[in-house]
Amino acid sequence: MSMSKIVRAAACVLLPFILVFGFYIVMHGHLTPGGGFQGGAVIATGFVLLMAAFSYDSITARLSKSSLTGGETLGLLLFIVTAAVALGLGGTFFGNWLANSGAIFGTPVAFGANPGNLNTAGVIPIMNLAVGIEVLGGLSVILLYMLSGVHEEVA
């Protein structure tokens, strides 16, 4: 059963905000506190908020387990592929092949106090995004599975 109309409306209004904030944390992982896990957890909490506000049936109609696990797997594959590309470029596994290269995310940074430029840190933003997608899929699908267990029992 869903909660009252007030809570539902609040969840609907809060959801884009939580998502944007989660992506903000993911994208700024190399500049401000945060990163893939934290941002992914925030976004997953956004989905969990929906699960709290709406009834189980109306949630499963829009959020499917298979798409969430698919997102999780894709994030992991992106992560491991990003790490493995370094092998092809002559580095080692998990070598940072974009840092200080001048390409995308490759602006060199001098030591010391720094206001922060998004276009830095090499593969770290890509990995942040990959881990973010993985964590958001993984954590929300865990909750969805557990709710389905409870739902089965109630029904």
């Binding site: 944390i25 506190p33 990163g35 957890a41 865990i142 909750l143 557990m146 029992e153």
Partner: protein, 83 residues
């Protein structure tokens, strides 16, 4: 001054941990776990670890509480229930 702050937060942590151990109502224990996560996150914040604080706030306070509540819903609320 910062030391007093530190000490107060740690006392709060220990009290809520003790309540988790002592309370027979699992739902109250889960609530106490939420408070515990809050205070742990604050302590990480005071110890200059904002990354960890965000992770603990998001995962510990939000998701872990939710998971515990769902698990309590799936089992039983009171300790010592035997059927």
């Amino acid at each position: 001054m910062i030391d007093i702050l530190n000490g107060l937060v740690l006392i709060g942590l220990l009290v809520s941990a003790l309540f988790i151990v002592r309370c027979r109502d699992l739902l109250s224990a889960a609530i106490s776990f939420g408070i515990f996560s809050f205070l742990l996150s604050l302590e990480f914040y005071i110890l200059q670890a904002p990354d960890v604080a965000i992770a603990e706030a998001g995962i510990g306070a939000g998701l872990t509480t939710a998971i515990f509540i769902v698990a309590i819903r799936g089992t039983t609320r009171w300790e010592g229930v035997r059927e």
